[in-house]
């Protein structure tokens, strides 16, 4: 374990960030916020251009002759049915964020937009921006990363490492070894910090749910730490024993609960209002999605610019932080599919689900804001984490739906942490598909410590800044992977 330089450096680097955050939480959060501010100001255009290029590339790959190439040998068949495949990849890509931002995000955009346009138009724009964050562009980042890992893994026999395509395409040279080593390190760093953020987000979500269930006010850090402790105990067990199909069942249960909540809110809420909103969102989104990807709001005032950085740019780098982790997972379940099936499945289907999800949960928020005297807008301003539970409270069986949301959030975090610890152990051991328990536990501990740092920051904005700072360098790595994929495809077609 201690002979591997990548493992030692990666554990030391992420561990150092965790220690810094525990000792001086405010210092780390303000450092991350100021650095991210500088990066986003200078490179916002580059991030938006990159994600738009990723999306265009995905559609080009699906429609070109390369679309017929199989991710595997020519006679390999897909391991999973299409429905199982789509369910698994969606659960991996979105997780607890879906529950956390379900209603709070659209209403946050609405709060800004209504300063510039009418309330009705503001709601439409808010849904468009939310769908943009969770739609085609997000999944294009995952798709390109996963496609590269799957193509080189199953078709070229490389290990599932970020560095493998680089070494395969350009040969084993000093510069490819150095850049490859750095790419693996940056991938590990981005995954660890990104997952730490998800742990914190999940804990905030569970905390708000528990407060709502038991009618508690301002439980503060005490309850958050108790939930965090329970979470650590829950994920330590699956890290030490191989649960086999157990993890898949846990993930499917969480996804099943989320789907059940979606259907319940759609049917128990103002169904016609929600369906009208969804249809409108589909039209607005697909009509404007490409230009939206190139929007940088540079001619708007500072308030819009800050909102764009805090949401759109942060989301895009957040997806980049998750890309190596989700990419490995999606690649592993996609053997035997053609590039066309892969790209269309990964990019289109989850996007349609997201539009329904935010159409229902955002829609019920807009119904409360526009058609009733509900204080929903104030709730988003004062208790962002509790927005979903506030809205569940206006529907029947709120005790049950709140408990289900808490359970789903808890399961999403456990499956994410256990899977991430496995991927981190695999990456840091040079692509070993059966990493030892000690290494997985070490990564589980680092993820827990990073999660603790972000819980101590007690602010979702601080969490997002820390993640964004860690993920920024990965923009370059994703582009490098793209170059490797395109060169290899060109070579195969020649």
């Amino acid at each position: 374990m201690f002979k591997n330089s990548l493992l030692i450096v990666a554990l030391s680097l992420t561990g150092a960030v965790a220690v810094w955050g525990i000792v001086d939480t405010e210092g780390l959060a303000s450092f991350a916020a100021s650095m991210v501010g500088i990066m986003f100001r200078s490179r916002g255009w580059f991030i938006m251009l990159t994600v738009s290029v990723m999306l265009i590339l995905c559609f080009w790959l699906a429609l070109s002759r390369h679309g017929r190439i199989k991710l595997g040998k020519d006679d390999d068949e897909p391991e999973f049915s299409t429905v199982s495949w789509l369910t698994m990849l969606f659960a991996a890509g979105m997780g607890v964020g879906l529950l956390f931002f379900a209603s709070a995000e659209p209403i946050s955009h609405y709060l800004l937009a209504r300063n510039y346009v009418s309330d009705a138009e503001a709601a439409t724009k808010a849904l468009l921006v939310t769908n943009f964050h969770w739609g085609l562009h997000a999944w294009a980042i995952y798709a390109v990363t996963a496609l590269t890992i799957a193509y080189f893994g199953f078709r070229k026999g490389c290990p599932s490492l970020i560095s493998a395509p680089l070494i395969y395409v350009f040969g084993r040279k000093p510069w490819t070894r150095s850049v490859g080593w750095l790419s693996d390190l940056l991938a590990i760093y981005a995954i660890a910090i990104g997952l730490g953020g998800s742990v914190a987000m999940g804990v905030f979500q569970v905390q708000s749910g528990v407060e709502s269930l038991f009618g508690l006010d301002e439980t503060g850090l005490g309850l958050a730490l108790a939930i965090f402790g329970a979470l650590c105990l829950s994920y330590a067990v699956p890290l030490t024993v191989d649960l086999g199909q157990g993890m898949a069942r846990m993930s499917n249960t969480a996804m099943g609960i989320a789907l059940g909540l979606l259907i319940f809110v759609l049917l128990a809420g103002p169904t016609h209002f929600l369906m009208n909103g969804i249809v409108e969102a589909i039209g607005t989104y697909f009509w404007t999605v490409l230009p939206q990807g190139f929007r940088t709001y540079t001619f708007f005032d500072e308030r819009v610019g800050d909102h764009f950085s805090a949401w759109t740019l942060t989301y895009m780098v957040w997806w980049l932080a998750w890309a190596p982790f989700v990419g490995v997972f999606i690649a592993r379940i996609s053997k035997g599919r053609t590039i066309r099936q892969f790209v269309l499945g990964v990019v289109l289907v989850p996007t349609v689900f997201s539009i329904f999800w935010f159409g229902v949960f955002g829609g019920i928020g807009f119904f409360e804001a526009l058609r009733t005297n509900s204080p929903i807008v104030d709730v988003v301003k004062t208790n962002f984490n509790g927005t979903t539970f506030f809205l569940l409270d206006v529907l029947p069986l709120s005790y049950l739906t709140t408990a289900a949301t808490v359970a789903a959030a808890f399961l999403f975090i456990i499956t994410s942490v256990v899977s991430a610890a496995y991927v981190l152990a695999m990456f840091s051991l040079g692509g070993d598909l059966n990493p030892g328990t000690r290494v997985k536990l070490a990564w589980g501990a680092v993820l827990g410590a990073l999660g603790l740092v972000m819980i101590l920051s007690n602010s979702i904005d601080a969490v997002r800044s820390i993640i964004a700072l860690a993920a920024m360098p990965f923009v370059f790595i994703v582009l490098l992977l793209t170059v490797c994929l395109l060169k290899a495809l060109k070579q195969e077609a020649a």
Binding site: K3, N4, S5, L6, L7, I38, M39, R41, S42, R43, F46, F152, R155, K156, G157, C158, P159, L161, A164, P165, I167, Y168, V169, F170, G171, R172, K173, L429, G430, D432, F476, L479, L480, V483, L486, K487, Q491
Partner: protein, 48 residues
């Protein structure tokens, strides 16, 4: 030129350089020993 603008310029110059390097990597011809002669033979490596 103030410091803020200087940092902005430097960060963007880095981006332009990376874009240029990526374009060059894509366009350049690989020497026969550069790529992998047999799939999987080059990318499998034992950890240090």
């Amino acid at each position: 030129m103030d410091w803020e603008n200087l940092v902005d310029t430097l960060l963007n110059v880095m981006v332009f350089a990376v874009i240029g390097a990526l374009a060059w990597l894509y366009l350049r011809k690989e020497s026969p020993e550069g790529g992998s002669p047999e799939p999987g033979s080059v990318c499998n490596e034992e950890p240090d």
